[in-house]
């Protein structure tokens, strides 16, 4: 058992933590969010320069050769800074799908572009009635010459508005909720058959509704049997989100305890009221539980045992969902009115936690998955 980071991991962590501390102050974020894409092109270039965009890719493609631990370190720092850039969409989701499903040619063509910061990706999988069921796919892919024609609609595609290429789940066969017959297709975002409507999400990030009308798709992996790889990459994304959430929760607790020391009512710091002290302690407990489960998620996300991995990642998502909600709501309550304002930091973290709970399955969804899978022990 060893919870320590290696020397390389320590260096990585230091440099990302420093980058976020130096460059991602809450006031800077307010400017980034107003840029045309809703995030900072300059920060994206910084991530490329630091090698963060190449983190999970193999060294022969120009990457860093990192695993889930390294991704988790970056995501935790990003959570602390409430980072807006499409890292999860491009590197974790898009990059993950390329790594696990892409052919050697696809990888050597696209991965260097990601690493250089030139290519953004988005994973289009949610449909109006699919909720979080990954095998609930109504969008179709029909063989046409050497490629496929994609038809149907995807929704809430994270950073789908700025992506250069879309990774779309679509059905080549079977019924709407069959496990088989699902493929994964690379679609050019500027294909004439693609129409996109981008919008901000509640937490200030971006997403898009995307319609496909005979858009050209190239399969990534087996066009009839991609569900396994999709599940795997979603599990990696869940682990990354868990790490991000831990960074956000830690920041919320720190801001809250700071405020409790400074804010005076009834002639004393509100942090002197024992009832509020206990509430802060409960937040701390929630944070530690979340940290533990985020670590568990990080370790288990790389497992090749799909069933075991599924249970572990669902368990982690449940804990993160519960802790994030608890810490977020309490951070607001213990601040009082000030936390209800757009100008103040805490509400934004609260909103991000709320959205993370909804991404790739809510607490209840994962509790149900865990229950149906027979539990953990």
């Amino acid at each position: 058992m060893d919870f320590d980071f290696s020397e390389d991991q320590r260096l990585l962590k230091d440099s990302v933590d420093r980058l976020i501390a130096d460059r991602y102050a809450f006031e800077s974020r307010k400017h980034f969010i107003k840029e045309p894409n809703g995030w900072s092109a300059e920060m994206w270039a910084q991530y490329a320069e630091l090698g963060l965009l190449g983190l999970p890719f193999s060294e022969d493609l120009g990457g860093f050769g990192g695993g889930m631990i390294e991704t988790g370190q970056v995501m935790e720092a990003f959570g602390r800074g409430l980072v807006l850039e499409p890292y999860l969409a491009t590197v974790v989701l898009g990059g993950g799908l390329l790594r696990h499903a892409g052919s050697a040619e696809q990888q050597s063509e696209l991965i260097p572009q990601i690493i250089a910061g030139d290519l953004k990706l988005a994973f289009a999988h949610i449909e109006r009635h699919s909720r979080w069921t990954l095998n609930d796919v109504a969008v179709t892919a029909r063989k046409d010459g050497s490629g496929y024609l994609i038809n149907g609609e995807k929704g809430v595609v994270l950073h789908g508005d700025c992506a250069g290429k879309l990774l779309v789940t679509a059905r080549t066969g079977g019924a709407q909720r069959d496990a088989g017959g699902i493929g994964l297709f690379l679609v050019e975002a500027n294909d004439p058959g693609v129409s996109r409507k981008g919008y901000p999400t509640q937490d200030g990030l971006r997403a898009a509704e995307i319609a496909f009308a005979n858009a050209r798709g190239v399969p990534l992996g087996d066009p009839d049997d991609a569900l396994g790889v999709i599940e795997r990459v979603v599990d990696e994304a869940i682990a990354a989100l868990c790490a991000e959430a831990v960074g956000g929760m830690g920041e919320m607790l720190a801001v809250t305890t700071d405020y409790m020391k400074q804010r005076k009512q009834f002639g004393r710091a509100i942090g002197e009221f024992q009832v509020l002290q206990h509430r802060a302690v409960d937040m701390f407990v929630s944070l530690e539980q979340a940290k533990s489960m985020a670590m568990y998620a990080t370790m288990m996300a790389a497992s090749d045992n799909a069933a075991e991995r599924r249970q572990a990642l669902s368990a982690a998502k449940v804990q993160i969902g519960k802790s994030g909600k608890h810490i977020g709501e309490e951070a607001v309550q213990l601040h009082g009115g000030i936390a209800m304002t757009m100008e103040y930091k805490v509400g934004h973290y609260f909103k991000r936690m709320t959205m993370i709970e909804q991404m790739f399955g809510s607490t209840d969804h994962h509790l149900a998955v865990l229950t149906d899978g027979g539990g953990l022990f």
């Binding site: 901000p200 999400t201 934004h348 609260f350 709320t354 909804q358």
Partner: protein, 400 residues
């Protein structure tokens, strides 16, 4: 003991229901039931219809338009309004400044202010909280100094709800800086157009604009704008806050929301099956209904008990209404979010800043779900935070 309402009360409820559902425009009621924000005009329209029919201020003294209803009747009135999506008359007018003026004001003040407040000809806002005085309201520092026949007000208020619409503000001011903190405060009225008053909007986390900061820079108002005795404003404030708490359980609102969630749950799908078929979801709805039923019974007990309490001396049990009422209202917003799943994520603020979905990302009813969840965290903060309510109950049951 008898759980049923008397035949008279049943008929009373039926009459109100008929009136509310026929006289108040459907478009307004639908907006309320769907949790959308109302425009200023819609709020005014609804209140004027109520007032024209003697239903805007039943809690006031009869000579000023009140009804002399029993507390059970007041309860039925509120419940029916909420169940049918009738906008509550503006609380600042009808349950705050109105009752204070009726109780503490001079005849001239009553004549001048009460009819206009009942008809929402004048929109009032509440200038109590300050940056440094929230839960500890009595530490407020905005001061009013007597100069000739006037008060000169200097200082700052904050969190002033809907001050952007307001014509007048009632302000708690420190008039005796030497007295003990509760004893040097006065209740003063100010026209919002008086030179020296400026408003600055505060945007809330849901993207909306409902609160403001108000700055007072040598604001001169006539001496006659003092309500009640000089330095006795704290009595007005306590009286007012007591009134505020009884309306706060909003049982009818939560009932209407749960009903709507149940309906919408047949339109949302999970794994190919409507969410209403999901046992877990139904159990959560049921659990919330149980809490709400218990709160309703508690409220009815408190209401029935009011005849045993001195008028205007709220039963300390009314803190329970705030504690439970706020958390149940918040739970309904969580159920709404669970209902729409991933479609809680798109944010589409309209000019009203109410996060209303205009461009069609997912279902209509999804657009307000996130913003309402975020915004309604306020319910456990304002009107005496839930921690302060617990302090009140603790004092009552422990004596410390």
């Amino acid at each position: 003991m008898d759980l049923s309402f008397t035949p008279e009360e049943v008929a009373f409820r039926q009459d109100l229901r008929t009136f509310f559902t026929t006289a108040i425009p459907q478009s307004i009621r639908t907006k309320v039931l769907e949790g959308q924000h109302l425009t200023k005009e819609e709020i005014i329209t609804a209140q004027r219809i109520l007032n024209a029919n003697g239903l805007a201020v039943p809690n006031w003294p009869v000579e000023w338009g009140g009804k002399d209803w029993t507390s059970v009747q007041i309860y039925i009135y509120q419940d029916e309004m909420q169940l049918n999506g009738v906008p509550s008359p503006l609380a600042f007018n009808t349950s705050m400044v109105g009752p204070v003026i009726a109780q503490f004001g001079t005849d001239a003040q009553k004549k001048r202010y009460l009819p206009a407040a009942a008809n929402l000809d004048v929109w009032w806002c509440q200038g109590f909280s300050e940056p440094g005085a929230g839960s500890d309201l009595a530490s407020l520092r905005t001061k009013a100094e007597r100069v000739g026949d006037t008060w000169v007000i200097n200082g700052q208020k904050t969190w002033t709800t809907l001050a952007q619409h307001a014509d007048w503000i009632f302000v708690l001011c420190r008039t005796d800086p030497t007295a003990k903190k509760q004893e040097g405060i006065s209740f003063i009225l100010a026209d919002m157009n008086t030179p020296g008053i400026t408003r600055r909007p505060i945007q809330t986390i849901d993207g909306g604009h409902e609160v403001n900061e108000i700055f007072f820079d040598n604001v001169v108002v006539p001496a006659e704008n003092l309500v009640g005795e000089l330095h006795k404003g704290w009595d007005c404030a306590k009286f007012l806050l007591g009134n505020e708490r009884t309306g706060i359980a909003r049982v009818g609102t939560s009932k209407a929301r749960l009903k709507r969630i149940r309906e919408l749950a047949s339109l949302e799908f999970s794994g190919g099956s409507a969410l209403i078929n999901d046992r877990k979801f139904r159990e959560k709805l049921a659990a919330c209904e149980v809490e709400l039923k218990a709160l309703e019974m508690t409220q009815l007990r408190i209401v029935a008990d009011e005849k045993n309490h001195a008028k205007n001396k709220p039963n300390p049990a009314s803190s329970i209404l705030k504690l439970k009422g706020s958390t149940i209202q918040q739970t309904t917003t969580e159920l709404m979010m669970e209902l729409v799943g991933p479609y809680v994520m798109p944010f589409a603020a309209s000019d009203e800043g109410d996060g209303r979905n205009e461009i069609g990302y997912g279902p209509d009813y999804a657009a307000g779900t996130g913003p309402t969840y975020f915004n309604w965290r306020k319910i456990s903060i304002y009107g005496g935070s839930n921690e302060i309510q617990r302090n009140i109950v603790a004092k009552a049951i422990l004596g410390f």
